[in-house]
């Protein structure tokens, strides 16, 4: 009987230990952000204060960085969804000759490491005189998010029954109306998944704007936070922690929103069998 009880409790102990180890670094940021005298080590703030947050939010430079971040991420997510739905339509509905190679190259691009193309992208931006352009950076981010977007949206669109569209055609609707009024509304969960995923990827992206943007006043939040912990020499821990918490919030909130759709993404978009 003893052995049986041990077998039951050991997993709980192991899981709790891993949980605590995972929690500690995170607890520190949260505690430090509310602590006016935050130090490097985790400690309960003697008094909870919002001064760190107000200091961060009252600085126009920080607000600008958040707005630029939102511009890049919302712009990218919107474009990936629009361009992706357009591309997914013929791939899902028509028997195209080049569909197979096209879908395979999309899947192939999905998995290529973006890091590897950053040096040539920088050269391309220099050549086209696009360095320091936020719009061009957003377009590059869009392109880098498109393979995943098209792949997922095509799979989601496959799940929308063709019969619904056929009956709309009989009623005289054009392809455009069909796509907007019949197909897209039925794909809302899929569109949300792609939009949220794309947004989070871009919001958390440091490397791309760090390379492509030169003027500090055009940096999105991901880059300003880095400048912060470079130049401040990690002195103002509380402020830095508050910045981190604010910066992390959109990703957390969107994750919570997307949870019910996310599970679909984890069976590799319904592409794996067995």
């Amino acid at each position: 009987m003893n052995r049986f009880r041990l077998e039951k409790t050991v997993p709980y102990i192991v899981l709790s230990l891993i949980g605590i180890l995972f929690l500690l670094p995170l607890l520190w940021v949260i505690f430090a952000s509310f602590d006016a005298n935050a130090k490097q080590a985790l400690s309960m703030p003697s008094s909870f204060t919002l001064t760190n947050f107000s200091a961060i939010l009252s600085d126009p430079a920080n607000i600008r960085a958040f707005i630029i971040g939102l511009f890049l991420s919302i712009g990218q997510a919107t474009l990936v969804v629009i361009v992706g739905v357009l591309a997914a339509y013929p791939l899902s509905r028509y028997a195209l000759k080049y569909k197979k190679p096209f879908m395979f190259s999309i899947l192939f691009m999905t998995s290529l490491p973006i890091t590897a193309v950053m040096v040539p992208v920088y050269q391309l931006f220099m050549f086209l005189n696009l360095q320091d352009s936020l719009v061009a950076t957003m377009l590059f981010l869009t392109a880098s998010g498109l393979p995943y977007g098209i792949w997922m949206l095509k799979n989601f669109m496959d799940a929308v029954p063709l019969e619904l569209e056929e009956s709309a055609w009989v009623d005289g609707a054009s392809i455009w109306t069909c796509l907007r009024k019949v197909v897209a509304p039925l794909m809302v969960p899929g569109i949300c998944t792609v939009a949220i995923f794309t947004f989070s990827m871009s919001w958390g992206n440091f490397f791309v704007p760090y390379i492509l943007i030169q003027s500090p006043d055009k940096f999105p939040a991901s880059v300003t936070i880095y400048q912060f912990f470079g130049t401040y020499g990690m002195v103002e821990y509380g402020k830095l922690a508050a910045f981190s918490v604010i910066y992390t919030m959109p990703a957390v909130i969107l994750y919570l929103f997307s949870q019910k759709f996310m599970s679909k993404g984890f069976s590799f978009g319904g592409a794996t069998k067995g």
């Binding site: 077998e7 997993p11 899981l15 709790s16 891993i18 949980g19 995972f22 500690l24 670094p25 995170l26 520190w28 940021v29 130090k39 490097q40 080590a41 985790l42 357009l86 591309a87 013929p90 791939l91 195209l96 197979k100 395979f104 899947l107 290529l112 490491p113 890091t115 590897a116 950053m118 040096v119 040539p120 992208v121 920088y122 050269q123 391309l124 377009l139 392109a143 880098s144 498109l146 393979p147 989070s200 919001w203 958390g204 440091f206 991901s222 936070i225 880095y226 912990f229 990690m234 821990y237 830095l240 981190s244 990703a251 994750y255 599970s263 984890f266 069976s267 592409a271 794996t272 069998k273």
Partner: protein
Amino acid sequence: MNSSSKTLTIRSIFFLLPSWLLLLIFFIGPILLTFYFSFTNLALTGAQAQQMQFVGFDNFVMMFQDANFRISVVKTILFLLLSAIIGQQLLGFLLAFLMKEKNTTFRRIIGIIIIAGWVTPEIVVAFCWVAFLNDNGTLNAIIQALGMNGVTWLYTFPLISVCIANIWHGTAFSMLVFQASLDDVPKSIEEAAKIDGASKLQILFRLIIPIVKGSIVTNMILVTLQTLGVFTLIYAMTGGGPGTATQTLPIFMYNQAFVNYQLGYGTAISLVLLLIGVVASLFYIRSMKVQL
């Protein structure tokens, strides 16, 4: 469908055009440029910035003679092995496996904690871990409370430090993948094996692992690809140092192209990175039994 195949083709081209344009300019274009520039001596400043020359395989010859390049390859392999394959994959599987059929509330709490590390942006992850591993950080505070001497983690064990941070950041992905695939294992088979007297370990190794083998392979390749591209975490935590201790290929590429201004050489390193990615991607596609 009553439209002729010709109008269908024209219409599809119209639908596919925006995505094609974007991909060609910003994705496929740069990949092709990688091939071209890696054979040139393009520099960011100086004479070679204006007059770039075709130098054949010079960059690659230089690369293979460069001790720093070899170090980077070794560091990249170690980073992949420790953080992606052993760390994220194994820990992710262990978590998913242990969490199976546990108390729902308990499962949810542990799940949220692990996923929190994954949702956190990479740059914040780096900051959390720099603080956690700092000389006066939380880890040393705990160690000192236990009566031992603190360790300068980021200087004494830099590679281990970045690996642990990457495991913290990435494990949730593997955990979620394995949770999804473990849910697909039919309960009845497991029950039958239990009645036949199979031990827990036998059920794990003889039954469950063979069933989820497909997702193990797919996840391994995906996690490898993700980890291969990791730049931000290492750059922000250690900057590749001390010395060359954490100089993986992306960091080496960055240093050559943007710190030493040798864009041509930097692109040659990109090409190596890209080719490793291509091989892994091909394995990835093969491992997925894709139905179009």
